[in-house]
């Protein structure tokens, strides 16, 4: 029996650094995906936003994890622009509010954080599963994480399954016709392209998996 991991502020900081690194590496890929069915700025915008988040968290002095998520969300809103800024910004802020002022959190609470983030994205973006948006990656990740944690799986294992679910959801956007966001203007021509928002979402979930796994 693996002892249950306790997560804290360092987990959140590590998550944000992992996102920054993978968005930087995948920046041009995200730009290409967005150019096909949008306007080609998604990689640039996300890169700018998470660079600012890492900088903001680097300057923070000992805030609890929930507070760090709120700072990260606020930073995204004020630096990203486009639709991803408000969507991810609100998502992280909602997630952060779940944790309040507590200094540590467990797997069940992590699932609640992601569930709150998903609820906020769906509310603000009025998107549902199958609209070819970031929801298509985030919702399966949240469902999987919740189910695995409820089954008693350790966090690292549950997060591995959640990241795989997000990646499967991301790939499943390829045959879909977009119903929300800029890609929806293309109608049938959006079919056959992987959604850039779902792609960056899968990166963000994978980054969280790395952050909880690499922790001592």
């Amino acid at each position: 029996m693996i002892s249950e991991r306790v997560m804290d502020a360092a987990t959140i900081s590590s998550w944000m650094r992992e996102i920054e690194a993978s968005v930087r590496v995948e920046r041009d890929h995200l730009v290409q995906l967005d150019a096909a069915i949008g306007d080609g700025d998604h990689g640039t915008n996300m890169n700018r936003g998470f660079e600012a988040v890492v900088q903001a968290l680097g300057a923070d002095q000992g805030s609890p994890p929930g507070r760090l998520l709120i700072i990260a969300g606020r930073t995204l809103v004020s630096t990203v622009g486009g639709a991803s800024g408000p969507l991810w910004g609100s998502a992280l802020r909602s997630g952060g509010r779940v944790l309040g002022d507590q200094t540590t959190f467990d797997g069940a609470q992590l699932a609640e954080v992601l569930a709150a983030a998903l609820a906020s994205v769906k509310d603000l973006g009025t998107a549902s599963l199958g609209d070819k948006t970031m929801v298509d990656a985030l919702e399966p990740a949240v469902q999987t994480l919740k189910a695995r944690i409820a089954d008693g799986a350790p966090v690292a294992q549950a997060m591995e399954a959640a990241a795989a679910a997000a990646e499967a959801g991301m790939r499943a956007t390829i045959p879909l016709q977009a119903r929300k966001g800029r890609a929806s203007y293309l109608g049938e021509r959006s079919v056959g392209h992987q959604d850039p928002g779902a792609t960056s979402t899968a990166l963000i979930v994978r980054a969280l998996q790395r952050a909880v796994t690499s922790q001592p």
Partner: protein
């Protein structure tokens, strides 16, 4: 960097500084009309806030110049919030603009219907309301190329944005109250329809690559203003055939009353010369008359663009007596100016 810049055929120092450097130039050219607030990245009418006047602000991604910064001045916008190229500005910019222009009579946000613009303006309007400023928002969605249904983000805001800024700006300048200025924006939007076509894509300076490939001899129909591909592609025929498609799309959706007076706005996307835009206007004018409509006002030129994209859009606005009066009212901005 130098090599990349040359490959792009763009005048750049550093692509990351383009928007800021351009705004600096705008302010240097028109100190009598506006100022550039560097910290907040907003363009503000020089005499703002005007006590008792309803203020109008708009904003959106850059790359559509002269929209919106070029329309700040007398009889049009009080402030503009420009984002990065094709990227919505952030709520802090709209909030700073709202605070900078509020003269106590309220502020109208003119928002083009793009998910990013709508979300960021929504957050800004909530923040402004928290600070006790009366804000109304109107979303412009005049592009008939996008089906307005549950299955899309709704029609895009394009040419009608320019007309709404001019007409509602004139109403505000004449002393109309917040409700009336807001209603003017809504009325212009409801009575306008647009459709655009492209003969080339455009190149966002941040990545230096065309957004879509358009082979020679092809035309992209139903484009927006962000270089996003249109709904379909067709062989490029004669100009009169292209205008047939554009005209039919606009008029069949607008369904103006027989005998109506209309304003026809032929807009260049950035890379099409005025020579061709006037050819298009001639074709449009003849078709309007043949359809029993009276083109009593027009606007021809590149006012809402998509970087260097070659192409054009048509916006038709069904006028009424008040809108004609507002159109003729004086305007003095960098990009649009006339006397009464």
């Amino acid at each position: 960097m130098a090599v990349e810049t040359n490959l792009m055929r763009k005048f750049l120092n550093d692509p990351a500084d383009l928007v800021k450097e351009s705004l600096k130039g705008l302010a240097a050219a028109h100190p009598d009309l506006l100022r550039y607030d560097v910290a907040n990245q907003i363009v503000v009418r020089k005499d703002a806030p005007r006590k008792g006047k309803v203020a109008l602000i708009s904003g959106g991604g850059s790359g559509h110049e002269p929209l919106h910064g070029g329309f700040v001045g007398l009889g049009m916008l009080d402030a503009a919030a420009p984002g990065e190229v094709f990227t919505s500005p952030v709520p802090g910019q709209m909030l700073a603009a709202t605070k900078a222009v509020d003269g106590g009579a309220g502020v109208v946000h003119i928002v083009k219907n793009y998910t990013g613009d709508v979300l960021n303006f929504k957050l800004a309007a909530e923040d402004a309301a928290d600070e006790g400023i009366k804000v109304t928002s109107v979303v412009i969605d005049d592009d008939v190329a996008v089906q307005d249904s549950l299955y899309t983000a709704g029609r895009r805001g394009v040419g009608a944005t320019v007309l709404a800024e001019k007409l509602a700006g004139a109403a505000a300048e004449a002393g109309a109250d917040l409700a009336h200025v807001t209603d003017t924006v809504k009325r212009v939007n409801a009575r306008s329809r647009s459709f655009g076509v492209a003969l080339s894509s455009c190149i966002p300076p941040a990545n230096g690559k065309v957004i879509f490939d358009l082979p020679e001899g092809q035309i992209e129909l139903g484009i927006g203003i962000h270089g996003e591909p249109g709904r379909r592609r067709a062989p490029l025929g004669r100009a009169s055939e292209v205008v047939d498609v554009i005209f039919e799309a606009v008029i069949s959706d607008l369904k103006p009353k027989h005998g109506s007076k209309v304003l026809a706005f032929v807009n260049g996307m950035g890379g099409t010369p005025l020579l061709e835009l006037y050819l298009i206007y001639g074709e449009v004018d003849a078709r309007l008359r043949k359809a029993g409509l009276e083109p009593v006002r027009n606007l021809i030129g590149s006012y809402i663009t998509s970087l260097e994209m070659a192409g054009a859009s048509l916006t038709v606005l069904e006028l009424d007596d008040e809108l004609i009066k507002l159109w003729d009212a004086p305007v003095h901005t960098p990009a649009l100016r006339w006397r009464a």
